[in-house]
């Protein structure tokens, strides 16, 4: 019974990791770039929401919308300043370091907005569920559903619309897409906005489930997103979702069996093993073998 309970908790947390992983996979899969400032954008959005909350007075839904808008704005800013100028093939490391500089900047702005170490973060109130002996937190169940719905919406966007077609064409080959008339730089901007919206959703869900924000949230969410992406297989969107769920399951089980202290280390150990034994992750094997991705410089 404990196993079942832990697994359900893991899946609930894993669904938010899946969103973090998806944001990374969108940016890396399509633009071959790593946005180190991703977590800082999330922190910025959450800080802005808490800062504006007493002024606007919209309660939990206000936090929800301001967080998403704040993260999307920060993400767009990062794209303009750090990624748009370095769109050439060899600009990857430079873009990553520029995003690191902006990470520092956003961190500082967030700590100006929220001067204390921890701030309460209100969630949406939902009654909890008991299902025999299995307990499910109402808000986490709601988050799980929101995560599934947003993954579905992303899927429809990418596979059923013209914009999605353009994005997928760019992912396959930016040069060809450009020759066929796609506005590749503009698509990059759209992708960062999309990643920001997904990240904002994940940030709201994680923080309201925890009930508080600390300045460490930024680094933490960057790690989780990167790891979920790697476990699933770099560049694969399906992989990122599965990777996020696996990460949630592994973390909760490791935490239950070995204690909270070992939880993160089990994750890092797992990722290291995945990388050295099966570098393409779960889904990305084909990508790793056939694509030039594996040879590409970061």
């Amino acid at each position: 019974m404990d196993m079942l309970q832990t697994s359900i908790d893991g899946l609930m947390i894993g669904s938010t990791y899946a969103l973090l992983g998806l944001s990374f996979a969108l940016v890396f899969g399509i633009m071959r770039r790593i946005n180190l400032a991703f977590g800082a954008c999330l922190l910025f959005g959450a800080s802005l929401a808490i800062y504006l909350e007493p002024i606007l007075g919209w309660g939990a839904w206000g936090l929800f919308f301001v967080t998403i808008v704040g993260v999307a704005l920060a993400s767009a800013y990062v794209e303009r300043l750090c990624f748009a100028p370095h769109s050439k093939r060899h600009g990857a490391v430079t873009a990553m370091i520029a995003s690191f500089a902006v990470w520092m900047q956003l961190d500082e702005i967030s700590s100006q907005l929220l001067p204390q170490r921890t701030h309460a973060f209100q969630g949406i109130e939902v009654p909890n569920l008991w299902w025999g002996e299995v307990f499910v937190r109402g808000d986490q169940l709601l988050h799980f559903v929101i995560a599934l719905v947003s993954i579905l919406v992303l899927y429809l966007l990418l596979y059923k619309t013209r914009l999605g077609l353009l994005i997928r064409a760019t992912a396959d080959s930016p040069e060809t897409a450009h020759l066929l008339g796609a506005r590749v730089p503009w698509l990059g901007f759209i992708i960062f906005l999309l990643a920001g919206i997904l990240g904002g959703l994940a940030a709201f869900m994680i923080l309201s489930a925890d009930g508080y924000v600390t300045p460490l949230f930024g680094l933490w969410s960057t790690f989780k997103g990167l790891i979920a992406m790697i476990i699933g297989g770099v560049g694969s969107l399906t992989g990122a979702v599965i990777g996020g769920l696996i990460l949630g399951l592994v973390e909760t089980h490791a935490g239950a069996v070995l204690g909270a202290e070992f939880r993160d280390m089990v994750t890092f150990g797992l990722v290291f093993l995945v990388l050295i034994i099966r570098p393409g992750g779960l889904m990305g094997v084909k990508i790793y073998r056939t694509d030039s991705l594996a040879q590409e410089r970061v």
Binding site: L81, P85, I97, Q112, I276, P279
Partner: protein, 299 residues
């Protein structure tokens, strides 16, 4: 010299070792998020050697460098198939695992009535070498700068040798390098090992200077800073990373009056700088341009 200035300069010198080690990995075309672990291992080994075993500081620092190099070699061998983002993330994981090991390392001893040695998350306190030998901050600065200059001389003589030329070639295009008869794997392994040695040595000096070290100091933020210094300064020459360190710590210390907002200003400035000089300040292109001008003048 002013105590404060001297300690800022010493910190800059110590971080320069980390930046140079990140530079050595970047030269062979890889990005490492894990140099801070070798820095930390070096710090722990040097601290143990001098404070616990009572070894001479020279042997302590040498042991730190060798420790850093061997950890780096292990990482290099494990990740021999990986490159790009795969390599970068695996260095991050490796570094966090090493830090976890340090977090659980407990080996305390009582020396002269003081409890010293690594003590889990509390870290390693009472590294008293600097007091026992009556080193002032300025004396230590002199020691650290001397070590850095020796390292720079070694790197500059490397720069003129075929080794560095080969490494840069491997970094630019491994397949092309292979077709020219170079062995990319061997270059990668030896430069990663060398970078571990440099980081470990710097870590040893860091332990001696700080007199207290703890695993939390060697988190991933430290490593990314080192990496950023190398990229901002430029990969054209070993002076690049030093310039990066100088810009960051030097400028940050000089605008201390704006303490609360300095990262906001500075982060934006660095991002803007990279827009105008994407290959860093001293880029490989700038170096080769200067070299050719220098040659033309002396023909």
């Amino acid at each position: 010299m002013d105590m404060y200035l001297a300690s800022v300069l010493t910190n800059m010198t110590l971080i320069a070792f980390l930046a140079l080690s990140a530079y050595l990995v970047l030269v062979v075309g890889e990005v490492s998020f894990g140099q801070q672990a070798f820095f930390g291992i070096g710090a722990y080994i040097t601290a143990s050697a001098t404070a616990l075993a009572g070894a001479h500081v020279f042997w302590g620092l040498l042991a730190g460098a060798i420790g850093g190099a061997s950890c780096a070699l292990v990482l290099g061998l494990l990740t021999i198939r990986l490159s790009g983002i795969y390599f970068a993330i695996s260095t991050l994981c490796f570094a966090e695992l090493l830090r976890f090991f340090l977090l659980h390392l407990r080996f305390t001893q009582s020396v002269d009535g003081r409890i010293i040695g690594p003590d889990g998350p509390e870290g390693f306190s009472n590294i008293r070498w600097i007091f026992e030998n009556n080193y002032q901050v300025t004396d230590f600065l002199l020691l650290a700068v001397t070590c850095l200059i020796i390292l720079l001389i070694v790197l500059f003589s490397l720069e003129r040798s075929p080794i560095m030329l080969g490494a840069r070639m491997v970094g630019n295009d491994p397949i092309l390098a292979q077709s020219q008869g170079l062995n990319p794997t061997r270059y990668r392994l030896s430069f990663i090992t060398l970078s571990g040695a440099v980081a470990g040595f710097g870590g040893g000096l860091f332990a001696l200077f700080n007199t207290h070290i703890e695993p939390a100091m060697f988190g991933v933020m430290l490593g990314i800073h080192g990496l950023a210094y190398a990229v901002i300064g430029g990969l054209g020459s070993a002076i690049g990373p030093l310039l990066g360190v100088f810009l960051d710590i030097g400028l940050l210390e000089s605008i201390r009056s704006l303490a609360a907002y300095r990262m906001i200003i500075f982060g934006g400035l660095v991002a803007l700088l990279l827009v105008f000089r994407p290959e860093g300040i001293i880029s490989p292109r700038l170096v080769s341009h200067l070299k050719s001008r220098w040659r033309n003048r002396h023909v």
